[in-house]
């Protein structure tokens, strides 16, 4: 039976012209009890499509609709959003805005209570939804006090309790740490299987691996148009997926590269477990006993860094007597290093970053916080920000001016520099991310990648030696992520900056960082190169961190084939498999 039918469905927002529709002539059908992934780059129309499923588009987000969207047999044109809420539930990206009550139990009950159901039925639904979302241990807790992953599970439970036939998830894991992502996606999968609900989930690329684990069909859209529609393996192998910047799971890319080397498998996998099975079978068939790197494989480009530019020793921070956010953190960062700080939500990453730029002070007196050898605890903020600066995750927190030029010129103007100097510094900053062509563009309506580049460019005129950047790749597609990290590398190589990024994206860390600091519950629990850190599975689990998929593949293959546990890139894994297979064929 059809759960969703889009019939030549088009939509444009009030501010859009006929030519720039958010969704254009979409026609597809979704069978009941299936899990469909809608993929496409940021701005492709995924969220608009999700909102069209329960009439939010065009009834709340106003605009012009053509064609029809039929959900659970109802034409969305003919029903109000709150009537459709019984049939279609939507889970948004940000869990914080979806939680309204002060206990987990009450929040799950919010939806059924709004439907005016008898209290006994509400309690029953709440119990079932809480159990399905695995929140039993949190029922009486305040939702503000639980982790981001748990909050998103709560948002899911809140929708589940309304028992809709269709559940739509709009990038549900993009704000979560790796284990939070895994937990949410597992729940999504279980719920669909158990209750026969149809699930739709959107993804722009960074979490394509998590999505590939649960979907049984993928629809790729680009610029509001349907690009590819099919089973996940076929869609994810299609080169157009790379072209639209979404990217593939690392294991899929690995098998495609192995194919180019003449190593064929019965199919191209999209999940880690399938990849492991296929490789293990192949290795057993070929009699490969051990996976190893080629002898001439260069493990790491040797980088020579300068003397310590940031010195942190025994930093504690108490927000109140109960919340010990930093527990004696100590480390140095040498000049010119690219450092990734990772850890679960609430582990102390942001608190640490705020200390490094003087927005917070340690609560103990015997701590050391030095930048370029200068004690920043005693320094005024306007001095600190010219040595070390911090770009927040959400560019919308700082962008305010009319044009890109004015935005970048703001910092030097605040320093009361002569207009000539302001102009020179602004132009210099614009060059770093190639923003000159956009200098007259209005801030409103900028694409996500431009906003991120702009927010970093805004602090460059202050000429800090150390840049701390919170989630520089969030909201970017795969190509955008590579471009961003390359630009940061250029900042280091050409301008001598030291770069510290805070991220949940383990691929970014594995591919681009020289060093990783792992935070867990206010402690620095691991400090080393990405190879050293990602090889330490036990400690990473303590911090709710999962290494990149390719590293995890190496780790599962290590049990039978002794594969190195610290493989960081697809290219490296290709070399390992290629070399080991050829080596066994040669009888070595």
């Amino acid at each position: 039976m059809k759960s969703i039918e889009a019939k030549e469905f088009s939509f444009r927002y009030l501010h859009q012209s006929e030519e720039e529709k958010a969704l254009s002539n979409l026609s597809f059908e979704v069978e009941e009890a299936s899990v469909v992934g809608i993929i496409g780059r940021a701005g492709a129309g995924k969220s608009t499509l999700v909102k069209s499923l329960n009439g939010l588009v065009p009834k709340v987000d106003l605009g012009y609709q053509e064609g029809d969207m039929i959900v659970d047999g109802l034409n969305t044109r003919q029903y109000d959003v709150n009537q459709l809420a019984r049939h279609v539930g939507i889970v948004l990206q940000n869990p914080e805005v979806q939680i309204f009550s002060l206990t987990v139990r009450d929040d799950v009950a919010f939806g059924p209570a709004n439907l005016g159901l008898p209290r006994e039925e509400i309690y029953q639904r709440v119990a079932e939804a809480i159990s399905a979302a695995e929140l039993e241990h949190l029922v009486d807790r305040n939702p503000n006090d639980i982790s981001g992953g748990e909050q998103q599970c709560l948002a899911i439970a809140g929708i589940l309790a309304m028992q809709p036939k269709i559940m739509a998830f709009d990038e549900p894991v993009s704000m979560l740490d790796p284990l939070g992502k895994q937990r949410v996606m597992n729940i999504l999968k279980q719920v669909t299987r158990r209750s026969g609900t149809t699930s739709i989930t959107t993804e722009s690329g960074a979490d394509i691996e998590a999505v590939a684990e649960v979907v049984d069909r993928i629809i790729a859209i680009d610029q509001g148009k349907l690009l590819i529609d099919g089973d996940p393996a076929t869609v994810l192998q299609d080169d157009r997926i790379q072209q639209i910047g979404v990217g593939r799971p690392q294991v899929t890319e690995l098998f495609l590269q192995l194919r180019k080397r003449g190593i064929e498998f019965e199919r191209i996998p999209i999940t880690l477990s399938d990849a492991e099975k296929l490789i293990s079978n192949k290795l057993r068939q070929l009699g490969v006993k051990r996976l190893m790197r080629p002898p001439d494989f260069q493990l790491q480009k040797v980088n020579h860094f300068g003397p310590p530019i940031v010195e942190v020793e025994n930093v504690h921070h108490f927000y109140n007597p109960q919340v010990h956010a930093l527990k004696g953190v100590s480390f140095d960062i040498p000049e010119g290093q690219i450092v990734g700080i990772i850890g679960q939500n609430g582990s102390g990453k942001t608190t640490l970053a705020r200390h490094l730029v003087g927005l917070l002070k340690p609560t103990n007196k015997d701590s050391v916080l030095k930048v370029k050898g200068i004690d920043i605890k005693k320094l005024r903020l306007d001095k600190i920000i010219r040595m070390i600066n911090y770009v927040f995750q959400n560019p919308d927190d700082q962008l305010f001016a009319e044009t890109i030029w004015d935005e970048i010129a703001f910092a030097p103007r605040m320093l009361d520099l002569p207009e000539e100097e302001v102009k020179r510094l602004t132009e210099e900053a614009m060059k770093v991310f190639d923003l000159e062509p956009y200098k007259g563009r209005y801030i409103f309506g900028l694409d996500e990648d431009l906003k991120t580049y702009l927010s970093i460019s805004c602090i460059l005129p202050l000429r800090p030696d150390v840049l701390l950047i919170d989630e520089p790749t969030t909201g970017l597609d795969e190509q955008g992520e590579v471009k961003m990290m390359q630009s940061l590398r250029n900042l280091r190589d050409q301008m001598g900056k030291t770069i510290v990024i805070i991220t949940h994206n383990m691929k970014t860390v594995g591919n681009h960082c020289d060093r990783v600091l792992v935070m867990s519950k206010g402690n620095l629990i691991l400090d080393g190169t990405p190879r050293e850190v990602f090889a330490n599975e036990e400690k990473l689990l303590e911090a709710d961190i999962l290494p990149p998929q390719i590293t995890r593949l190496g780790q599962v293959l290590s049990k039978e084939f002794g594969c190195p546990k610290d493989i960081l890139t697809i290219e490296e894994m290709v070399e390992v498999l290629d070399y080991s297979i050829k080596n066994s064929r040669n009888g070595a």
Binding site: L56, F110, P112, R119, R354, Y390, D397, Q398, A411
Partner: protein, 279 residues
């Protein structure tokens, strides 16, 4: 970030022993009495009782800094009103002669102001006003510190208060800390770009408020949109809402309500007949 007046889980009698409805009634009675009375001799016992209950509820002492903070913010209207109480005819209960005894007074022979300044009466009035304010804040702390907003909301639903009004209360309370954290975040983000407000030039002050105002408006609009969507998909506004809890009162609840409502009625009568609470 926490709100100043946020509920904290606890096991005290005030947390667990009384129905939210009873606590709402008690708080309402105190607010009315504090508004009614201006005589510190009557207000002070209410304030002391409030402090005792706050102590029982284990409310942190720092919450009471809010009283000082709010008084400091309202110093101008307070001083203005105080110095305007210098005339004897303003006092109905206190001896007018004593009340109008001047400490520092001046005569202003225009705008009908006549006599301004500090008298014994105006100081008595000031003490009453401060006590009134402190009493309301103290009881508000006790009420909000011991009663979850979800219980308040459910009680309001059970009292047939329109869902839209209850939801506004609930959502305001829920999003105060969230919005406060966003404001802090925006301010910090701009400080890191060298932003500051240190200038006496009013035009510059206005211009320099834009880096805070613009992102805040944009973020607020986004949050409002997302909350609207989130509430709609949770069926809000689809009709009758089922209250999650009953309005079943224990004997103790009933006794407390009778005591406070009875006290309020008596206070009205006493004020009408004997000017109790007036100065």
């Amino acid at each position: 970030m926490d709100t100043v007046f946020a509920y904290r889980q606890g096991t005290t009698f005030l947390h667990k022993g009384l129905h939210p409805f009873t606590k709402m009634v008690v708080f309402l009675v105190i607010v009315i009495l504090s508004g009614l009375w201006l005589d510190i001799r009557y207000l002070l016992p209410l304030l002391i009782l409030g402090f005792v209950l706050a102590y029982i509820a284990k409310a942190p002492a720092k919450l009471f800094l809010f009283i000082v903070f709010a008084l400091a913010l309202t110093w101008f209207p307070t001083v203005r009103s105080t110095i305007a109480q210098a005339r004897p005819e303003y006092f109905k209960v206190l001896d007018p002669e004593w009340a109008s005894t001047g400490i520092v007074t001046i005569n202003v022979p225009f705008l009908g102001l006549e006599r301004l300044g500090l008298t014994y009466g105006s100081l008595y009035w000031l003490a009453g006003r401060i006590c009134r304010f402190a009493t309301v804040v103290t009881w508000a702390i006790v009420f909000l510190y011991t009663t979850p907003i979800s219980d308040i909301a459910n009680t309001l639903y059970a009292l047939k208060v329109p869902p839209s009004i209850v939801f506004v209360v609930q959502i305001t309370y829920k999003f105060i800390p969230y919005m406060a954290s966003i404001i802090n975040q925006i301010q910090d983000a701009q400080k890191l770009r060298g932003w500051h407000l240190r200038t006496m030039n009013l035009i510059k002050v206005f211009k320099r408020s834009l880096p805070l105002a613009n992102p805040l408006m944009r973020r607020t609009a986004m949050i409002v949109e997302q909350v609207t969507i989130a509430t709609q998909v949770r069926g809000f506004g689809s009709g009758k809402v089922t209250p999650l809890r009953d309005l079943t009162l224990s004997l103790l609840d009933k006794l407390v309500i009778i005591l406070f409502v009875g006290g309020l009625i008596f206070a009205f009568i006493a004020m009408a007949l004997w000017k109790v609470g007036m100065i």
